[in-house]
């Protein structure tokens, strides 16, 4: 038992680090660019040299690397000061695996290389006002019209819709069939006539998501992935990859920042870190973070051996998000009355905890709520039966819905 790379992994790590260090954009490269331009510049540079989407086959823009090599590359990239390429993660992490499984060869050759190079950005149009945790309850409909389908309805919580070139979308193509059977899966051009994008103002004040309205939007039948009525199965391919894309702990507010704060804030005229209650709280978060870290190492070991990681990693978001929320709340309590004072130019740490406090409720919901994640663990890991479903087997039009 050790934390060391195998010989092949060590070679790959050296090669990756060497390339990253030699090619990370300099300050001069990035001067005057927007965040989007910086991201596109860096992604294109990686792609041109074969360091983007390395797990994909070479003909689609990758280099046929294995899973552990992807992890090593991510670790090495995290060590350098490169532009944030998060804008590509939904397209590369969710749309691309779906295309690789379900698209025609011609479509893969057309779309995957530009996804890898960051020249085209994709978004995911799944959630609806009536379909969140119960995603298959979505209502946005597509009706056949010659070789096209005509889309009407509304999607919600679409990250990056305003700058995306394409989107993957699940639509109701037959409302008379039971819920899951009446769905079909498409991809479409986000500049299509009839698409209207409105940013959602979150409770934090930020706008990371959109509502997307569809009014008689046409999409070609050739852009359907899977058979008509097979949309749920195709969507599962996307969703299985979503957990891999989102995961994580959420923000930088963790044990270390809370410990730093406890060192400089006083309780009863002594550093808060000397307070037993503070120490106990901090210890619990340390234990959770440590548990997640070493759970990750166990998964990496499985990858390293060419195995599929066990279900352990499904706990990441379920543990990490509530932990960050509680930690941020506790940190602000330590600041006492000043904990609520907002000053964007002021104390960085206060901003971090306040920002985390206001954004984490979203992470506990995005990509599967805490409750859905617990269901997934119960059903897929522990093998417990599904809940009774009163909408099973009846036409979607007859299913009771919210007001």
């Amino acid at each position: 038992m050790d934390f060391n790379d195998s010989a092949e992994e060590a070679t790959f790590r050296i090669e990756a680090a060497a390339w990253l260090n030699a090619n990370a954009p300099s300050e001069a490269d990035l001067a005057g660019l927007t965040d989007m331009q910086k991201a596109k510049l860096w992604q294109k540079r990686k792609s041109d040299a074969g360091w983007a989407c390395v797990r994909w086959p070479q003909e689609y823009g990758g280099r046929g690397a294995n899973a552990i090599e992807q992890v090593i590359l991510n670790q090495e990239e995290a060590k350098i000061a490169a532009p944030n390429v998060g804008v590509f993660s939904i397209g590369q992490g969710m749309a691309a695996p779906t295309l690789q499984t379900w698209a025609t060869e011609e479509q893969k050759k057309r779309y995957l290389p530009k996804l890898a190079s960051g020249e085209e950005i994709w978004c995911q149009l799944f959630s609806e006002p009536a379909g969140g945790s119960d995603l298959a309850a979505l209502r946005t409909k597509a009706e056949k019209d010659g070789d096209d389908w005509i889309i009407n309805g509304q999607k919600i919580w679409t990250s990056g819709a305003q700058y995306s070139d394409f989107g993957i979308i699940v639509l109701r193509t037959d409302p008379n069939l039971p819920k899951h059977q009446g769905l079909s899966y498409f991809f479409l051009d986000m500049k299509s006539p009839g698409i209207e994008i409105k940013p959602i103002k979150q409770m934090s004040g930020a706008s990371g998501f959109n509502e997307v309205y569809f009014t008689d939007v046409r999409v070609s039948d050739a852009q359907r992935l899977g058979e008509v009525g097979q949309g749920w199965q195709v969507a599962l391919t996307t969703l299985m990859n979503e957990r891999a894309s989102i995961g994580g702990g959420g923000g930088a507010a963790g044990f270390k920042t809370a410990m730093d704060l406890a060192n400089r804030i006083n309780i009863d005229d002594k550093p808060a870190i000397e307070d037993k209650h503070v120490r106990a709280q901090l210890a619990n978060w340390y234990v959770q973070e440590s548990g997640l870290k070493f759970t990750g190492y166990r998964s990496m070991t499985a990858l390293s051996k060419g195995e599929i990681p066990g279900p352990e990693n499904s706990i990441g978001k379920l543990v990490g998000a509530p932990k960050s929320q509680d930690l941020a709340s506790f940190a602000m309590d330590l600041m006492e009355q000043a904990g609520i004072v907002l000053d964007p130019d002021g104390d960085e740490m206060a901003n971090l905890f306040q920002g985390t406090y206001m954004s984490i409720p979203g992470l506990r919901i995005a990509g599967g709520t805490d409750e859905i994640m617990a269901n997934i663990i119960a059903e897929r890991v522990l093998g417990l039966p599904q809940d009774v479903r009163v909408d099973k087997g009846i036409p979607f039009t007859d299913v009771p819905t919210s007001n």
């Binding site: 901090l282 619990n284 340390y286 234990v287 166990r298 990858l303 269901n375 522990l382 809940d387």
Partner: protein, 371 residues
């Protein structure tokens, strides 16, 4: 990355699990709980014959000289089985104390017998309610020990004890090895919350003893021994937590209410999912602890405290929610849920409770930051 047990170690796990399923079923645990025998001698003999008691003892003292990874695997399985054995007292505490602080003669006297299971050792620290410190120790001595220790796990059956005594020297404590079969030692079996493990009150009246390690360095030695033992106890806690989760799951699947299996209700599913989450965190931390023990890493104090806090929390949660999942039947004497609940409490107070270890963890992190 190779953060996993080897094939040989996994094979050992399979063998250990199979052996304990055959030889240490819940019926065997119940017999220890309900019977008069302090522990299961037959099982102890078999366990020793398989070499479990000699796992990390060096070959020169008739041990197997294997690593702490093998011992971790065994601890995991013993915890899962709620084994009614003095294994932890003898192996994680007494054997470890001798390996770390014993003189050559002390080692030669006891290690071969510990390896063969012929001798049982234990560790005696606690005296009264509350945290034990060098300042409140009343048992005193070096070459002659006087005072009373309570409770001493397996103190009624052990052949010798490593006793923490008060001294005016150094850090305020000595670590003394005391043969328990002598006139200066009076032992009395006591009742505890977990009768599947026997406990005693031991009174020392000028009992012959020898100091282990350096005089007046007994408190530091105790901390070091506890750090190492904490990781092995955490493996037992993690194994027990997993067993409690499996027990709860199997019962929930077979128990029907309102026309369906209660395992299909989210209230139960989420309860079991939470158990799984805590167990997974504890197990992954145990991997970390095993690695730290195996390599004697500088961060051992951090790994020990992290692993112990996770182990305590997981086992308490799993054992109490297992009872809850069983409903009324879980509260009966007849059902086996109580074994885990009892053992969880024994293991959460035996070498320092959760709050002590939370505190130690932050202290260790502070020391690492300074270094």
């Amino acid at each position: 990355m190779n953060f996993e047990f080897s094939e040989e170690q996994n094979l050992l796990r399979e063998q250990a699990r199979g052996f304990l399923q055959d030889n240490c079923s819940m019926k065997v645990v119940r017999a220890a709980l309900e019977g008069d025998e302090p522990f299961n001698r037959d099982l102890w003999k078999k366990v020793a014959e398989m070499g479990w008691t000699s796992t990390v003892i060096p070959e020169e003292y008739d041990g197997l000289g294997l690593s702490y990874l093998e011992l971790s695997v065994i601890a995991d399985e013993l915890g899962r089985a709620v084994a009614p054995l003095p294994f932890s007292s003898s192996v994680y505490l007494a054997t470890e104390a001798l390996i770390a602080y014993g003189t050559k003669t002390q080692k030669e006297t006891w290690l071969p017998k510990l390896a063969s299971g012929e001798a049982i050792g234990t560790f005696a620290l606690g005296e009264t309610q509350g945290q034990t410190t060098p300042k409140n120790l009343t048992t005193t001595g070096g070459s002659s020990v006087s005072g009373t220790k309570l409770p001493v796990a397996d103190g009624d059956i052990a052949d010798f004890a490593v006793v923490v005594t008060r001294t005016d020297e150094g850090d305020g404590a000595n670590l003394c090895i005391v043969d328990l079969n002598q006139t200066g030692v009076v032992r009395e079996v006591i009742s505890t919350l977990d009768p599947s493990r026997s406990h005693a009150k031991i009174t020392f009246n000028n009992a012959d003893a020898q100091v282990m390690g350096e005089e007046g360095q007994g408190w530091a030695a105790t901390q070091n021994i506890f750090n190492r033992a904490a990781i092995l106890f955490a493996w037992e806690q993690t194994g027990g937590s997993d067993a409690a989760l499996i027990m709860a799951k199997e019962y929930a699947l077979g128990r029907f209410a309102f026309g369906r299996s209660i395992a299909s209700y989210q209230a139960i599913k989420h309860k079991l999912a939470n158990m799984y989450v805590k167990n997974t965190l504890a197990r992954s931390n145990c991997y970390y602890g095993a690695w730290a023990l195996d390599t004697t890493a500088d961060e051992l104090p951090i790994a020990a405290a992290t692993t112990r806090v996770a182990g305590i929390q997981a086992y308490y949660f799993a054992s109490k929610e297992n009872i809850q999942t069983h409903g009324g039947m879980g509260f009966t004497w007849e059902f086996d849920c109580q074994f885990h609940y009892r053992r969880a409490k024994l293991l959460s107070v035996n070498i320092g409770s959760e709050s002590q270890w939370q505190d130690k963890l932050i202290t260790a992190v502070q020391q690492q930051n300074v270094a």
